[in-house]
């Protein structure tokens, strides 16, 4: 195999791809703008919600029996307005609903005095304003109860400290870097897996299925390039596309997060430090490279069974989604990175990312992961090279994956 021929094929693929809008959007722009767009979206939603909340004052009606201290506390609440209580209320849910619909109020506090006072709050848990009214009432009642308990203690000759015989103090030993690592470990694996998959998916569709659909397979097959040189050139392109997506996404996220931390002020910057040790960075990059080699081999093999983009999407779509599953599973799991996970391709990648980004670097599972990925890649490439010897892979009818694997 001539490396110069492989390089020329890869160059041709790259030149063609950078002129394809669809490829650029998904492999270059999406990874770059994903985090800023997501961040912008979240900030917009938060702003809208906070704006709506500040305009949305909850209306609460309170019984005449309500203690004055509670009433004062509720009057002082910023997001709450006290409205007159119902002239007649039968104390049933239907009665509350009828009053709420007629008056447009959000909650009602009834207070029954006696040997033991009973405060009952009527509210609608499906409405945000009603929920807010409940929280304000709960806070006001708690404050009143505490004050009352303290004054009763004083009345019987005890001190306030007798109410709280001990205090709980907590010391967080996590450093700012550890907190940052925890955030990265929770967020990054899913995005890394997504970007590896995205880059491979679009490149394989274009370089394998697109070649067949445009009728250019025959054009390149009659050139003096060896079939292996053509396929390896294309493989290099798919791997490069996958890694490009991943690196752009990482850079974009690093810039975006540092911007967000700066925006949120110095306090947060002291609490959270988003940096990685060099060793962790090297392991993540190294494993990402091996994972890209594996993923590219799989998607190219599968894409070779499709004749059109539509067929290609039908074949690769489920694989694309499935490949993100390990990222989702890992994000939800608290399990440590063990040998069991290390032997399952892709799950091992996601788990390794999480573990290493979180500051844990177990050597055994890391080495097993790399070995498993290399072995799996070699197996898939072997299948691909056997399939490439088939005439009908390039010209003729569509062949199924089963036929391809049998060849």
């Amino acid at each position: 195999m001539r490396l110069s021929a492989v390089r020329r094929v890869a160059q041709k693929e790259i030149l063609e791809s950078v002129r394809d809008r669809n490829f650029l959007v998904n492999v270059v722009f999406l990874p770059i703008f994903l985090f800023p767009l997501m961040g912008f979206g979240v900030m917009q939603v938060m702003q809208i919600q906070s704006g709506a909340s500040s305009r949305d004052i909850a209306e609460l009606a309170i019984d005449r029996g309500t203690p004055a201290a509670v009433e004062d506390s509720l009057r002082a609440a910023e997001q709450l307005r006290l409205v007159p209580p119902p002239s007649s209320f039968d104390g049933t849910p239907d009665g509350f609903r009828a009053w709420r619909e007629a008056e447009g109020a959000d909650a009602l506090l009834t207070w029954t005095t006696g040997e033991r006072d009973t405060a009952r709050l009527w509210f609608d848990g499906s409405r945000e304003r009603s929920e807010r009214a409940r929280d304000d009432v709960a806070a006001a009642v708690d404050e009143w109860r505490l004050d009352r308990e303290k004054s009763e203690l004083v009345a019987v000759g005890l001190s306030e400290s007798d109410l709280e015989p001990f205090t709980i103090e907590s010391e967080d030993l996590a450093s700012a870097r550890q907190r940052g690592q925890e955030i990265l470990a929770a967020v990054l694996p899913l995005f890394l897996m997504m970007m590896l998959a995205t880059g491979s998916y679009y490149a394989a569709l274009d370089t394998v299925v697109g070649e067949r659909e445009r009728g250019t397979w025959e054009t390149i097959l009659v050139s003096p390039l060896a079939r292996a040189e053509i396929l390896v050139g294309k493989y290099v392109f798919v791997v490069a596309s996958s890694l490009t997506s991943l690196v752009l996404n990482l850079l974009s996220m690093a810039i975006f997060l540092s911007f967000v931390l700066r925006m949120l002020g110095d306090d947060l910057g002291e609490k959270i430090q988003l940096t990685l040790p060099w060793s962790a960075g090297l392991i993540v990059v190294g494993v990402a490279l091996v994972a890209a080699l594996f993923y590219a081999a799989v998607v190219m093999l599968l894409a070779s069974t499709a004749r059109t983009h539509r067929e290609g999407q039908a074949v690769l779509g489920p694989v694309y989604l499935l490949s993100m599953l390990p990222g989702i599973v890992t994000a939800m799991s608290q399990d440590p990175f063990t040998m069991k996970q290390a032997v399952v391709p892709l799950l091992n990648v996601a788990t390794l990312f999480k573990s290493v980004l979180g500051g844990e670097m177990p050597l055994g599972p890391i080495l097993v992961t790399i070995a498993v990925l290399v072995a799996a890649t070699l197996i898939v490439l072997r299948l691909a090279s056997r399939a490439a010897a088939r005439d009908d892979l390039f010209v003729g009818r569509q062949i199924s994956l089963k036929e391809l694997l049998k060849s």
Partner: protein, 248 residues
């Protein structure tokens, strides 16, 4: 004249969708010389394309042998591909590459570099009148211009053998005329042209000798004059019908 292509008992069997054997080419033999246009004449599905794909090493023969420019298609496919220019109605161009980039890439694939590559690309651009469109992407070119670029792509390395599979299929009148003129110029340059078609006027105009292929086998071969004499028919269509019989 030197023999450039020799085909001996070439056969190709495909597996159908249900695993059944489909014999596309069944023991085809013929030879073509330099400075000759050899026509492979047959109906759709007769086995012309499969034969030409085997000669260009895209498909592997099931049986038989063939030498192209002295190289065996089975044992030395790369040398065969270095010797040929292949063009068919279905060989597409890369839409997002420009005309010049297409010629450069294929020139490089054929081992041309530096000044040799530059002069080969300029020669093709000038010969086919596409210099004006050199920076246009292939997807933006007219059908005729695309065909010229495609021909240029096939001959940028100046091969001694040309294999053309129904090259005028789907082309408009002007683009088809360009292709036929190109075939004539190749003969004048002493190249060996193997040309498949089912258009009788092209056979009359271009082919020095023809082989009529039907259901995977060569049924008759020779010059058109020899075939007329053998069948007693005057017009090429009648000659063809006399050889293959009435086919529904």
């Amino acid at each position: 004249m030197t023999e450039r292509i020799r085909v001996q008992d070439l056969a190709k069997t495909f597996l159908g969708a249900k695993g059944e054997e489909i014999r596309a080419v069944n023991g085809v033999s013929f030879a073509c010389r330099e400075g000759e246009v050899f026509g492979l004449l047959g109906l759709n599905g007769a086995g012309k394309t499969t034969t030409l794909r085997m000669l260009s090493t895209v498909l592997t023969p099931t049986a038989g042998t063939a030498l192209v420019n002295g190289h065996d298609i089975a044992s030395d496919p790369q040398a065969v591909r270095e010797s040929i220019g292949f063009l068919s109605g279905t060989t597409g161009l890369y839409p997002r590459l420009t005309a010049e980039e297409t010629l450069r890439f294929f020139g490089e694939f054929h081992g041309l570099e530096g000044d040799r590559l530059n002069s080969a690309v300029e020669r093709v651009l000038e010969t086919f009148g596409i210099a004006k469109y050199r920076t246009q992407r292939c997807e933006k070119l007219s059908t005729g211009m695309k065909q010229k670029v495609n021909i240029g792509r096939a001959v940028v390395h100046d091969p001694p053998v040309l294999i053309l599979d129904e090259p005028t299929s789907g082309l408009d009148v002007l683009a088809a005329a360009t292709t036929l003129e190109f075939v004539e110029s190749c003969r004048a340059e002493g190249k060996c042209v193997l040309f498949s078609t089912h258009i009788m006027s092209e056979v009359e105009r271009l082919c020095d000798r023809v082989a009529i292929i039907h259901e995977g086998s060569v049924r008759a071969s020779g010059t058109m004059a020899e075939l007329r004499e053998r069948t007693g028919q005057k017009y090429p269509e009648e000659v063809f019908r006399a050889v293959v019989g009435n086919v529904e």
